[in-house]
């Protein structure tokens, strides 16, 4: 799953488009040659027009055929590239999905991810933009050059030499081009970051302090753009100069050959036109180094993504979980992040059927506590066990199958309300879904409502309740609820709490809240403060 994706499906699918591409390029070169031959022969006024018929047919055929061949090449090439892209897309999803619940917490991972879509394009079309143009050019150069070589060695060399050199120019410049592109991207990123910093500072009236730095970066960017221009100018000059050279060489050598009687005069036009047309085959090569660099950079980023280790991984050999409700225990758990101790020696036994509430000030680590149980992260000290087994020894899928989770920000999938509820229980009868929503005060929310990206088309309160219903629907022994009533008014809150009381009968409940009302569901309440978990006396729990 982690091996780099190079060329899904191998080279085979690209064989047909490659052949078509070579044929199309050749047809273009041959068309020029045949046209020259045709009119030169015609100018000599042969006895009968019939002797020209073959050439006329050839010219017409090449004229029509070239466009058709090119069209077929593009179509078959895209079909192959799209098929390869499909496999790469799935592979990328696999690569990302192994991160589970912690990828987006990392800024670097997020950056790689944001680029991944463009990168998919770059890699998917690398064959079309790199391999096929190169093959087309090589085919044309070989055949045109070979024919001229067979006529006369010096004639052949005077075309092949400059032609290959002209093809090599962008290739020779590719390292410099890639370096400039990287430099441009780096400076642009730095400029963006400085801009953001300046805007943050602007609130304190200090934006102007950043102006010199931003100006300097802009100046550097200008120099990079100019350097890119110089490179391009050099390439153009080289290509055009080589064209001029070829044309002149072929013309003079051809004249010498005609003079010596080694070449029929009627062939001269064909040779000159063919040499000129073979330079047309160079045009698509100009884009090759850029496309190659993009594909390579994409490949490197892909490998970087593959190299990022998920914070939480499946054990090599997982322990089996016995069926039925199991005790869940936090045992001397400590957690250090960014140099700060978030949790210290937290011990919390949750026997089957226990109902526990945790409260505490903002940022005390209440949600983190739930994350340790759903294994979004692992403790730095102590352990969390289910049925006596350390969570790190359990398969992630086995563990998460036993847990139902409602998160504070209630993330919903883009889709319908029903699609979201069915994540909890794919086989629940529709009436069960409907009744649960009605009970939660969502009687006017149809099951086929589209929830929008991340659930944004629903109000905060609606979203929270759909997410709650989804967690309740899941057939699991442990229910983890993070701020279950955060966005609700007091009446709705009371209503939701009644449903929760009913639905979590017989299940282990751990709820985290900074509002006092949900704590009536709990038999035991703890306060999390300064990394420690303090049990609150049962009598105090109602007044918190």
């Amino acid at each position: 799953m982690t091996r780099p994706v190079r060329r899904a499906g191998g080279w085979r699918p690209f064989l047909l488009p490659a052949l078509l591409g070579v044929a199309a390029t050749l047809a273009g070169v041959a068309l020029a040659g045949a046209s020259g031959r045709l009119i030169a022969r015609a100018a000599l006024r042969p006895e009968v027009f019939l002797s020209l018929t073959l050439l006329v047919t050839l010219v017409r055929g090449l004229g029509v055929g070239r466009a058709g061949l090119r069209y077929a090449e593009r179509l078959t090439g895209h079909a192959a590239a799209l098929r390869a892209g499909e496999e790469q897309r799935a592979a990328l999803f696999d690569r990302v999905s192994r991160f589970g619940r912690d990828l987006l917490a990392r800024e670097r991972g997020g950056d790689l991810l944001a680029r991944s879509s463009a990168d998919l394009d770059a890699r998917q079309f690398a064959e079309l933009r790199v391999t096929l143009p190169l093959l087309g050019f090589a085919g044309a150069a070989l055949l045109a050059g070979g024919w001229l070589l067979s006529l006369d060695a010096r004639l052949g060399l005077s075309v092949l030499g400059p032609l290959l050199l002209a093809a090599a120019l962008p290739w020779l410049a590719r390292a410099r081009a890639a370096e400039l592109a990287r430099e441009e991207a780096r400076l642009a990123r730095e400029h963006g970051a400085a801009l953001l910093d300046a805007l943050s500072a602007s609130a304190d009236g200090a934006a102007q302090l950043w102006a010199p730095r931003l100006d300097a970066l802009n100046g550097q960017l200008r120099r990079v753009t100019q350097a890119q221009g110089h490179l391009q100018t050099g390439l153009t000059l080289g290509r055009e100069a080589l064209f001029a050279l070829t044309f002149t060489l072929v013309l003079t050598r051809g004249l010498t050959l005609v003079e010596a009687g080694a070449l029929g005069g009627a062939w001269l036009a064909a040779v000159v036109l063919l040499a000129a047309a073979s330079f047309d085959a160079l045009t698509p090569l100009a884009l090759v180094p850029g496309a190659h660099a993009a594909a390579k950079a994409a490949q490197e980023r892909d490998e970087a993504l593959a190299a990022v280790r998920p914070a939480v991984t499946d054990p090599v050999a997982s322990s089996p979980l016995p069926p039925g409700p199991l005790p869940l225990t936090l045992d001397g758990v400590g957690l250090t992040r960014g140099g700060r101790d978030l949790l210290r020696g937290v011990t919390l036994p949750l026997p089957p059927g226990a109902r526990v509430g945790v409260t505490g000030p903002s940022g005390a680590g209440k949600s983190t506590l739930l994350g340790l149980i759903s294994r979004d992260l692992d403790p730095t000290a102590g352990r969390v066990t289910l049925g006596g087994t350390d969570l790190r020894a359990l398969a992630l899928a086995d563990l998460r199958a036993r847990i139902a989770l409602h998160e504070q920000d209630a993330p919903l999938l883009d889709g319908t309300v029903e699609e979201n509820l069915r994540l909890g229980d794919p086989h629940a009868p529709p009436e069960r879904l409907r009744t649960l929503l009605d009970d939660l005060g969502l009687a006017d929310l149809p099951l086929d409502t589209w929830v929008g990206e991340g659930g944004t088309r629903l109000s905060g309160g609606q979203r929270a309740r759909v997410s709650l219903a989804r967690a309740l629907l899941k057939r699991s022994d442990v229910l983890l609820l993070d701020e279950p009533t955060a966005h609700l008014d007091p009446d709705t809150e009371a209503r939701v709490l009644r449903v929760l009381g009913r639905e979590c009968a017989g299940r282990t409940l751990l709820l985290v809240t900074h509002r006092p009302a949900p704590l009536i569901l709990a038999d035991q309440v703890y306060r999390l403060q300064d990394g420690h978990l303090h049990p609150l006396p049962a009598t105090r729990k109602k007044v918190i």
Binding site: R60, Y71, L82, L199
Partner: protein, 550 residues
């Protein structure tokens, strides 16, 4: 060729503000005119070379055979040399034009964003702004380097090729005159036929790319519910359907390329055959007709290139639209006067920010050094009013500072008197020290510790490994919401501003933490004028001003 450009040449013309934003950089005219002159010179050089080459070939071929004089060969070489030099010069010119124009645009974007300050950050996501600045080069440079000069180049090359052909062999010119426009008509018709299909395909392509991103964003939820394999299947199936649909559309969309190729090669073939027939019949001579044949690709080549360059224009459009939108936000007028040196005294009469959607106005006064809570229903423009007070956006109604109208104040000097703490303050990915010295680069550690003590953060920072050197922000120490708010407050205190504008700094905090922070603001900001936007009960002893709906 990606699947993306499938939508090319079929979208409607960009609206005017976009075009205006693209053509805004000064000094575009001269290099473009110079480029056109070079195009003309290059095209003439090419024509000269081909005409002479054709004459040489015809000379040795048609009886009485004559050998070319050296002048003709040198002339052809010279023509091609001119072509090479002008081509390179055009390239250099285009590169300079692109460097100049993108630098100008980036400078303007930066200045515009800095003038808008926190307003620029409030309406949109920070990531979008970074994208805007980092995409500016790759998206705009091809527009200035290729598309702008390319139009004139294509027209000039085609016209020169046509003109020279007309002089050499009117019959061939007539053929080009028919096939050229006919090609354009065909391209237009193909464009019409594929318009709807390519649009739909473009949408579908974006959706599929979006779907992958969305699914990865939803991975936490999918994992929690064990639904990853199910959704992987969905993704693979939709990608398959997408491929088939794309190919159906490409079959049509590639027709425009086909038409272009077909026209170019068929025209060459037609010209060659027709010339052949006329030469056979003795109605034409070889030299001019051969030159005409050689010029046919010079007629179609630039047209084909222009089609490819249109991508550059289409790529630049979305970015130019964003630039134009930023330009449309009204900035506050700048003045020359200064506010009195005391903590500012503010008077509002029917005042509101001059932004669309902002309707509620404020009337009332805030005495020098007074702490006032600003309230009103959500979305009526409380934050926007704070932005207007900082002179980041224009306002309507009347706002005076110690009797001086806000509009008459010098913006730069006023900005130094005001500190605004936004709802979600951004920490730099830098040390605690650098974060604190954001607006006071010269503050020493003693001053920093004093400010930290005032906001009750000295204990937390002292406990960090490295204390003031501890890294914050991305990848650094995580501060809680309350701690971040207090750090931003310390930053504002250090800046020396005597007007503090605090925008819902307690929204994400629980009741106790929020009460603590309110009390702390009251203590730490003594002697400074404070305007606090809040949804909660105002801190005890603070006066409340309320925005009124019209």
């Amino acid at each position: 060729m990606t699947t993306a450009p499938v939508a090319h040449r079929t979208r409607p013309r960009p609206p005017d503000p976009v075009r205006r934003a693209l053509n805004a950089p000064p000094g575009l005219g001269r290099p473009l005119a110079l480029g056109a002159a070079l195009s003309l010179l290059g095209a003439l050089g090419t024509a000269l070379a081909f005409v002479l080459a054709a004459r040489i070939i015809a000379g040795v071929l048609t009886p009485p055979a004559r050998l070319p004089d050296i002048g003709e060969v040198l002339g052809a070489a010279l023509g091609l040399g001119v072509r090479a030099l002008t081509g390179a010069a055009r390239e250099a010119l285009a590169a300079r034009l692109a460097a100049h124009a993108t630098t100008w645009q980036r400078g303007r974007l930066t200045a515009r964003l800095l003038a808008l300050g926190p307003v620029a950050l409030s309406g949109r996501r920070a990531a979008d702004l970074v994208t805007l600045s980092s995409e500016l080069g790759p998206r705009l440079a091809p527009y200035y380097a290729r598309f702008l000069p390319g139009r004139a180049h294509a027209a000039i090359c085609a016209l020169v090729a046509l003109g020279v052909t007309a002089w050499l062999d009117p019959a061939t010119a007539a053929l080009l005159l028919v096939t050229g426009p006919l090609t354009v008509v065909f391209l237009y018709l193909v464009g019409l036929a594929t318009h709807a299909a390519t649009q739909a395909q473009w949408t579908r392509h974006t959706r599929l790319a979006g779907r992958l991103l969305t699914l990865t964003r939803h991975l936490p939820t999918l994992h929690a519910f064990g639904a990853v394999p199910t959704y992987r299947d969905v993704l693979v199936r939709s990608a398959g359907a997408h491929r088939e649909a794309t190919l159906r559309v490409l079959r049509v969309a590639f027709l425009s390329g086909f038409v272009m190729e077909f026209a170019a090669t068929l025209a060459t073939a037609l010209v060659a055959v027709w010339i052949g027939v006329r030469l056979f019949g003795g109605e034409a001579t070889l030299a001019p007709t051969l030159a005409a044949l050689m010029l046919v690709p010079e007629f179609f080549g630039p047209l084909r290139q222009l089609g490819a360059d249109r991508h550059a224009a289409l790529d630049a459009e979305p970015l130019a639209r964003d630039l134009a939108a930023l330009d449309a936000v009204p900035g506050a007028p700048d003045g020359t006067r200064d506010a009195l040196l005391d903590a500012p005294e503010l008077t509002f009469r029917g005042a509101r920010a001059d932004l669309p959607g902002v309707t509620a106005t404020l009337t009332g006064t805030v005495a020098s050094g007074e702490h006032v809570a600003l309230r009103g229903p959500s979305g009526v423009g409380k934050s926007a009013l704070l932005h207007a007070l900082g002179k980041y956006v224009a306002h309507t109604g009347q706002v005076t500072v110690g009797g001086v109208p806000l509009d008459d104040l010098n913006a730069d000097r006023w900005a130094r008197r005001v500190a605004l703490v936004p709802q979600a303050p951004r920490l730099l990915a830098a040390s605690v020290r650098d974060n604190l010295r954001l607006a006071a680069p010269d503050a020493d550690d003693g001053a920093l510790w004093t400010a930290l003590r005032e906001v009750g953060l000295d204990g937390v920072i002292a406990a960090l490994p490295g204390t003031l050197d501890a890294p914050l922000g991305e990848g650094g120490t995580c501060l809680s919401g309350g701690e971040t708010a207090r750090l931003a407050l310390a930053r504002a205190l250090l800046s020396g501003a005597d007007l503090l504008l605090l925008d819902e700094v307690t929204t994400h905090l629980d009741g106790d933490t929020a009460r603590d922070l309110h009390a702390l603001i009251g203590r730490a900001a003594r002697g400074r004028t404070v305007l606090l936007v809040t949804h909660r009960d105002p801190p005890p002893g603070w006066r409340t001003l309320t925005l009124e709906a019209p």
